[in-house]
């Protein structure tokens, strides 16, 4: 396919750099009110820098990188509103901020600007999936795959298959992503870790461990892989090790998901005082996000359903559903309603979350518990058995609860 600049280990230089210099090539087709050649070239250079900042943000989780990226990308679009990579960049940024509708708008614009190109689909597919437009997402994803089978498209096919309950197919697709590799070590470590997560979901802890360790060999200290190993520790009863790892991670990178995982491990280990402090931190994060008008994640709504005020959980879950009507949000809605004492509606939402065939054990567990509370005995047994069959150690807190519930039901 051609020449590449020798890139740094961490940052990749997007393919666009090769046409940055040629200016005229970045004007894609449309000739109504074209930007001047100088503006087109300037925009392309800014877009490239903006995309590099986005990759840095992935690697560092430093919010300043997102702000820098946005500034560069907006300047690029000011110069040349038709710049494809700035449009894709703005879409990526919107998705990272969980503004999926905005992401979809940029994704559609990008596809129009770049017909016959694969890369607009990265944003378009992700937005469609998170907004629950699964039919459209399937079409887009197939178009992306037809244009370009590579790490980015294989990884997306994997996720789509996973949501539909095709775990073998999801694993196969992710293995293709890992094999294809990429320019940037973090990208490879990312898909390697996702492969580990899939193996863990299927209860294959040996394969999961190997995948996480390979990711760590790619990028030393890669946090998502360390989290994966900690989860395996937790699943096999080594809670002290899990807690130690989570704590180290949370000290440096207190993302909500990690904080909640720490708290739940502490709870499972019987360290209720520590767990309470940790949950207090998770709560602070939630309130700060709300105060800033940020979109919260379904896992945060679930956290409140599990450990806080269930009616607040219902409000939060509804927010996530309105922002992103996906099966993930449906699961949060269902669980919040069940915990708030409305298992009939909780069960309806749980069924909705499973409509694609999703086999995530925790989601099946939520559905089982909703069915049980709603008096649907057979359905409850079916869901709970499915969760434990998928992975008997799927959660140090929930798996035992699932087993106890089954005993009582049978």
């Amino acid at each position: 396919m051609g020449r590449r600049l020798a890139s740094g280990r961490v940052l990749a230089v997007p393919a666009v750099v090769f046409v940055v210099a040629l200016g005229a090539f970045t004007a894609l087709g449309d000739t109504a009110q074209p930007a001047s050649r100088g503006e087109v070239v300037a925009a392309a250079s800014l877009a490239q820098k903006g995309q590099a900042q986005l990759q840095r943000a992935r690697e560092s989780a430093d919010p300043a990188n997102y702000a820098r990226a946005e500034a560069l990308l907006r300047r690029a679009l000011d110069r040349d509103p038709k710049n494809l990579d700035a449009t894709i960049g703005m879409g990526t940024l919107a998705l990272a901020r969980h503004d999926f509708r905005e992401g979809l708008r940029y994704g559609k614009t990008a596809r129009r600007l770049g017909r016959d190109l694969a890369r607009p689909y990265t944003v378009l597919v992700d937005a469609q999936v998170e907004l629950g437009n699964y039919q459209a997402a399937r079409r887009s994803l197939q178009e992306m795959m037809d244009l370009r089978p590579n790490l980015a498209s294989y990884a997306r096919v994997s996720y789509f298959r996973e949501l539909h309950g095709d775990l073998d197919g999801a694993t196969e697709a992710m293995a293709l992503a890992v094999s294809a590799g990429g320019q940037v070590p973090e990208n490879v470590a990312y898909v390697q870790t996702l492969l580990g997560d899939l193996e863990a979901t299927r209860g294959r802890s040996g394969a999961a461990r190997r995948a996480y360790e390979t990711a760590l060999a790619q990028v030393a200290g890669y946090v998502p892989a360390r989290v994966g190993l900690a989860e395996l520790d937790g699943a096999s009863g080594r809670l002290d090790e899990a807690i130690a790892t989570y704590r180290e991670i949370v000290d440096r990178l207190p993302l909500p998901g990690y904080v909640i995982a720490l708290g739940e491990a502490e709870l499972a280990a019987g360290r209720t005082a520590s767990a309470r402090e940790t949950f207090a931190l998770a709560d602070v994060q939630l309130r700060l996000a709300a105060a800033q008008g940020d979109n919260i994640e379904p896992l945060q709504a679930r956290f409140v359903a599990d450990h806080g005020d269930p009616s607040r959980a219902v409000r939060l879950a509804r927010q996530t559903w309105e922002a992103a009507p996906s099966v993930r949000s449906a699961d949060a809605m269902g669980w919040a309603l069940t915990r708030a004492g409305d298992p009939e509606r909780g069960l309806a939402w749980a069924r909705r979350s499973l409509k694609l065939g999703w086999q995530e054990p925790t989601v099946l567990y939520h559905a089982g518990m909703a069915a049980r509370a709603a008096g649907e005995r057979d359905e409850a047994i079916s869901f709970l058995e499915a969760a434990l069959e998928r992975n008997p150690d799927f959660s140090p807190v929930r798996a035992p609860k699932a087993r106890r519930a089954l005993e009582e039901l049978r």
Binding site: G2, R4, M145, L151, G169, V250, D294
Partner: protein, 498 residues
């Protein structure tokens, strides 16, 4: 318990991203670069030490910084790598060599190798890759016969350094294999390409304009690539299965290009029938002639270019050669470089000469048959003998054994390209280039011709500067002969393991 800092929590609250599973959404990577599939250069030539054979050097995985452990570059086990031959002139492959790779790793270690690897079979070499070769015959683009001609050939490993490989060449040379009447090699080599990429792609920001005085920096110095290099008797690739009697023989010219394919998955079929959902193979990269994709094909067309076969290049892409954007850029250069007195006059339209060079072949030199289609394949007339004194400008330097009649490792692709688009074949000869005239390492005079790769331990990527010299006239290069050269002094090698 150590208190979690509220400041950290505040920072985290600003980040809406959660990277772990069970988070609200995936952030799959968006970078589409695909080094394992990317063709970076294709060469085809008649080697002086094998005058009755066709030698093809096909390189992938561009810009490899040797010090990239533990992520050493390798071929993708799940992709298919091709060298295609068109001997009928229709732009479709008639003979294809397909290479498929398989890696093995130990389950308990992530090290490429333990210290002191002495041979390619050495158990201390933990990360191993092997390959097989399938030779296909095709008619009108469909496979009619195929045969696996070799299995389990070793891939030359990446050169981590002298502690892992006290004598790297000894190991790499064991990857040179004879198969039937042919020779094959796959694995890491020093990148033969030489160019000042930084200047070229910073809007042709030449360090020493107009680029014929040396002074350029070879940004590819010390970088590595993964190569598949093959050398087969002419009769294995000609239309009639006979050797080539001379340059005017009917069967003398073949078109060569390299390509990569990957599986296109079916996103989901409700029955999860995964064997069928694996889908068919799709071409994701191809490369025939130098710089066609990079400098003729616009951004909006690149993915289409990579997916298609050369047979449709006429209808899809010819117009981009007839009116090349790059010619306009050449004409803008003097003003941009502040040398406005210079008027380069590159013709911007009716560039049938470029169509001849890059797509159809040049009549009397390297056309395939009487009525060849316009197809981006590297066309080599195997009846033209190797040059006694090669000129790095190839045909425009008066050397009929060089580009565009095939491409040798030492042909200065960048300078040739700039001068061709500048209008050399239409009589407009401009003394332009990138200021880099040769590779940082000398080429070998024997298979596999590309030099051994720099090691990860002692490398100096992108640091070779071309010594300044008197101006080179367009197409004419008496000052810098091709052949064994004295490389620029290199940093001293690291400690040797006895």
């Amino acid at each position: 318990m150590k208190k979690l800092s509220v400041a950290a929590a505040l920072a985290a609250a600003l980040i809406a991203v959660s990277l772990s599973s069970g988070s609200s959404h995936r952030e799959a990577p968006n970078i589409m670069l695909d080094p394992a599939a990317d063709n970076t250069d294709t060469y085809a030539f008649t080697a002086p030490d094998a005058p009755d054979a066709l030698t093809v050097v096909a390189n992938w995985v561009p810009g490899g910084n040797p010090a990239n452990g533990p992520n050493f570059f390798r071929f993708d086990d799940r992709a298919r790598y091709y060298i295609h031959i068109d001997n009928t002139g229709d732009g479709k492959p008639d003979i294809s060599y397909r290479y498929e790779f398989k890696s093995t790793f130990p389950s308990d270690s992530y090290r490429q190798g333990l210290p002191g690897v002495r041979s390619i079979d050495d158990p201390r070499l933990q990360e191993k890759q092997s390959y097989r070769i399938v030779r296909e015959e095709l008619e009108d683009g469909e496979v009619t016969r195929k045969r696996t001609i070799a299995r389990d050939l070793p891939v030359a490993p990446s050169n981590a350094g002298p502690k892992t490989f006290p004598d790297y060449d000894q190991v790499a040379n064991q990857a040179i294999r004879d198969v039937g009447d042919g020779k094959y090699f796959a694995g890491q080599r020093d990148d033969a390409f030489f160019i000042d990429l930084g200047a070229a792609f910073d809007n042709v920001n030449l360090r020493v304009p107009p680029g014929n005085l040396g002074g350029g920096t070879d940004t590819q110095a010390d970088t590595s690539i993964q190569t598949i290099t093959m050398q087969v008797p002419e009769a294995d690739v000609t239309r009639d299965g006979e050797p080539v009697s001379g340059p005017d023989a009917d069967n003398a010219t073949v078109g060569v290009w390299a390509a990569t394919e990957r599986r296109k998955l079916e996103v989901t079929n409700g029955r999860f029938d995964n064997k069928r959902a694996r889908g068919s193979w799709v071409q994701v990269s191809r490369l025939g002639n130098i710089l066609v994709n990079e400098l003729f094909i616009p951004a909006s067309e690149k993915d289409q270019f990579n997916k298609t076969t050369p047979a449709t290049d006429g209808e899809r892409f010819k117009r981009f050669l007839l009116e090349p954007e790059f010619a306009k850029q050449i004409n803008n250069l003097p003003e941009e470089l502040g040398v406005s007195a210079l008027d380069l006059k590159a013709p911007e339209t009716d560039r049938d000469d470029l169509v001849d060079v890059f797509l159809t072949g040049i009549e009397g030199l390297n056309q395939i048959g009487d009525d060849p289609v316009a197809a981006d394949t590297l066309k080599i007339n195997m009846g033209v003998p190797p040059a006694q004194t090669p000129n790095r400008f190839g045909l425009i330097g008066g050397d009929r054994a060089g580009f565009p009649n095939g491409r040798r490792l030492a042909d200065d692709a960048t300078d040739i390209y700039v001068q061709l688009v500048g209008g050399f074949m239409k009589g407009n000869k401009i003394p332009a280039g990138d200021g880099v005239d040769q590779n940082d390492k000398p080429f070998l005079d024997r298979f596999p011709y590309q030099s051994s790769p720099s090691s990860g331990y002692d490398q100096a990527v992108g640091r070779r500067v071309e010594p300044p010299h008197a101006p080179t006239l367009p197409g004419n290069d008496p000052q810098v002969p091709i052949g064994p050269q004295v490389p620029t002094p290199r940093p001293p090698a690291g400690p040797q393991v006895p």
